[in-house]
């Protein structure tokens, strides 16, 4: 999400510096440190629970139901990793994190996995000591307009008035886009997204802009959601990806391949309903995915049923998308960029072989 990009870096740099200084000044302290040789996987198995950093509530990604249980595509991904590693979808501790503390929580070991709709950028990948494992949702900044003004493309918004959140990159993206296309615009900025949405709903602007997934969620807050349409085009790239701490390749591999297994399952037509019959399938790709052939799970440090468990308990990528963001949810987001590569989207997983 664009408006969540806070200047985290200054803080983490200062924090790291402090840590280094502390350890130099008090060498005794460093003896307390657990042996570095113990990887994240062993640690998780020992405590028998996966700690997963999520949002403090974002519809479709990680949000609560009436019982306080987490739902969403990021929450599902946490469960999938827990199932693959520990065999139990409930052996998981969700840690709700604000945008400011999310990277520190990962660096300090408070969480094992960050699945918090975090945009994968070069700066974060290289300078923050974290590693992105692959986009589980391709987002981008989009626009919502009233159906009756008859606009179908962002290009037709020349001269439009636009509501946006103040002090975020969304404003800058709009400025860049309109200027580079030689279009006129008039922007009204609001401190909070609720205010911006309310202003748009009251007719003060022709369009409201934020990340597309956010637009679908905010549309539910409008008085008449069906009178509005989210335009298909996006004006920025926001690949949202789970992340792990840098320096533990074994753990990064596991998390990455859980994501790929869910994608491969969808591509091969394996889902939580038909998985039992699929085990008898003659298709070698399916047999390798489900651990009937080969020992791919073992080479990950797990057992060969790892992917079977994930698909049975959580489902394939398509099922998770549909349940949380797509037609089966309140948000009704189309697959778009998040369709499989075989259907014109960007979701592509390397083969299991």
């Amino acid at each position: 999400m664009n408006f969540l990009k806070w200047p985290t870096i200054e803080f983490s740099k200062a924090g790291l510096l402090f840590t280094i200084v502390t350890f130099l000044l008090f060498p005794a302290l460093s003896n307390v440190m657990p042996a570095k040789a113990e990887g994240t996987l062993e640690l998780i198995k020992k405590r028998n629970v996966l700690t997963c950093g999520v949002t403090q509530g974002l519809p479709g990604f990680s949000a609560p139901d009436d019982k306080g249980r987490w739902h969403g595509i990021d929450a599902d991904f946490c469960r999938a990793v827990a199932v693959a590693v520990l065999g139990d979808a409930d052996a998981i501790k969700f840690v709700p994190l604000s945008a400011k503390v999310r990277f520190t929580a990962l660096q300090s070991g408070e969480i094992d996995l960050l699945a918090r709709n975090t945009t994968w950028t070069m700066h974060r990948d290289t300078a923050l000591g974290i590693q992105f494992i692959g986009a589980n949702y391709y987002d981008g900044q989009g626009f919502i307009v009233k159906k009756d003004i008859g606009v179908t493309s962002v290009r037709e918004l020349d001269g439009a008035s636009i509501c946006a959140n103040a002090g975020t990159t969304t404003e800058l993206n709009v400025a860049d886009y309109f200027r580079s296309n030689g279009m006129e615009y008039d922007i009204s900025s609001f401190e909070k997204s609720e205010e911006a949405v309310a202003a748009y709903d009251a007719g003060r602007c022709d369009a409201y802009t934020t990340d597309q997934s956010g637009l679908y969620a905010q549309r539910q807050r409008l008085v008449d959601p069906d009178a509005h349409i989210v335009l298909n085009e996006v004006i920025s790239k926001e690949p949202l990806s789970p992340a792990v701490r840098q320096g533990d390749d074994v753990w990064a591999d596991i998390v990455r391949w859980v994501h790929y297994a869910m994608l491969n399952a969808e591509e091969l037509g394996v889902n939580s309903q038909n998985i039992d019959s699929m085990k008898a399938s003659p298709n070698p790709s399916i047999r390798r995915l489900l651990g009937v052939e080969g020992s791919f799970g073992e080479s990950l440090g797990l057992d060969n049923d790892w992917a079977t468990r994930v698909i049975l308990k959580v489902g394939n990528y398509g099922e998770s998308f549909d349940r949380n963001l797509g037609a089966g949810s309140e948000l009704k987001i189309e697959r778009g960029l998040n369709a499989l590569w075989t259907q014109g989207g960007l979701q592509f997983a390397p083969p299991i072989r």
Binding site: T19, L58, D66, G68, L97, V101, D201, Q220, R221
Partner: protein, 355 residues
């Protein structure tokens, strides 16, 4: 009837200006009540399992949201099978405070001591468990009103004695003690609470060895308590300064030790003078608990706004209803506190001026 007309002639419509003001006020009252009533009752939706009925009533409150989520708002994610433990804590607290307030019992002093010593211990054992066959409930599962009350009550119980000590320390004749108290008070008063919480949640984990973590709620409790103590110290110091010098000298002249003269002469007077300021700090502290949201702990307000993001409930009236509900709950608690303080003031009033 005759009397009412007479009374209103005298009080509401005495002069032309008076009449005008009365009519304007009546009109304002009518407009307010009408608006509130039509939003909260007439146009509101009361029943339903999801947002459908709230969307059907777009100009009124969405009360089903509150009823569906009420359990979450009170207990957070505290396991359903263990919520009786929270209920016992609430009930004991209410019973103890109620008995202390009504003031028609003979063992009041003993009860007050119990409420300040045994009750917190019992609360801790009941809520977190791991002892006496109670299953352990991690604090990250606590939430809602439970967390708000735990933080506020801890802050209140810790800050009063600590504040008294700091206030005495600041007026002490021993330079080291005075210096330490001044530094402590000025440090905590100089830092915004949100910074304290932020430092505790962001910086502390970086200092600690990897994998070792303080409980997040504990971090908040410590931060809030120390913060409130500094404010409390200054409020009580104001009370101490209002006591005439003669009282101190009187204590000395009859040969009382420092602690005895404080306990028997100075503090009883100083604390009564400071009651409005003390309660003011308590109420401020109670409302400040909402800041713990930044550390990822969901207090009452935090968990309410957290549930706005449930896709089954996102509709225009849900946030307004949620905030109004949170405001009502906070108002009830704060009003109860100030009402209680008024009765305490009346009871302890030395001069009888506070009636």
């Amino acid at each position: 009837m005759q009397q009412i007309i007479k009374w209103s002639r005298k009080n509401l419509f005495a002069t032309r200006m008076n009449t005008l003001l009365s009519l304007v006020s009546l009109w304002l009252i009518y407009v307010t009540i009408d608006g509130v009533a039509s939003w909260a009752f007439i146009n509101a939706s009361f029943l339903g399992a999801d947002k459908a009925s709230c969307i059907a009533n777009p100009h009124g409150a969405c009360w089903p949201f509150v009823t569906a989520k009420l359990n979450q708002f009170i207990y957070g994610n505290y396991p359903a099978g263990e919520q009786w433990r929270v209920n016992i804590v609430f009930a004991l607290g209410a019973l103890g405070l109620g008995l202390l307030m009504t003031g028609c019992i003979s063992f009041k002093k003993q009860l007050a001591v119990l409420m300040l010593t045994a009750y917190p211990v019992l609360t801790f054992i009941l809520l977190s468990g791991g002892l006496l066959g109670l299953s352990y409930v991690e604090t990250n599962q606590w939430g809602g009103l439970l967390v708000t009350l735990v933080i506020a009550v801890t802050g209140i119980v810790v800050s009063l004695p600590l504040g008294i000590l700091l206030a005495l320390g600041r007026r002490s004749e021993l330079p080291i003690i005075r210096m330490m108290s001044v530094v402590f008070i000025e440090f905590w008063r100089g830092v915004p609470l949100i910074t304290v919480l932020f430092m505790a949640s962001v910086m502390l984990p970086l200092f600690l060895p990897e994998g070792m973590n303080f409980d997040a709620l504990l971090r908040c409790l410590i931060g809030v308590s120390l913060f409130a103590s500094a404010y409390m110290a200054e409020v009580i110091r104001g009370g101490l300064q209002a006591i005439p010098k003669g009282q101190y000298e009187a204590g000395k002249s009859i040969g009382l030790s420092y602690w005895k003269s404080m306990r028997l002469i100075i503090l009883p007077q100083a604390l009564v003078i400071s009651i409005p300021g003390i309660v003011n700090t308590f109420i401020g502290l109670f409302k400040d608990t909402t800041l713990v949201m930044i550390v990822g702990i969901f207090d009452l307000l935090g968990i309410i706004s957290f549930h706005f993001t449930d896709p089954n409930w996102t509709s225009p009236q849900v946030p307004i209803t949620g905030f109004v509900f949170a405001g009502l709950v906070f108002w009830v608690f704060c009003f109860a506190m100030s009402y209680y303080s008024k009765s305490v003031e009346r009871r302890f009033s030395v001069t009888g001026e506070n009636k």
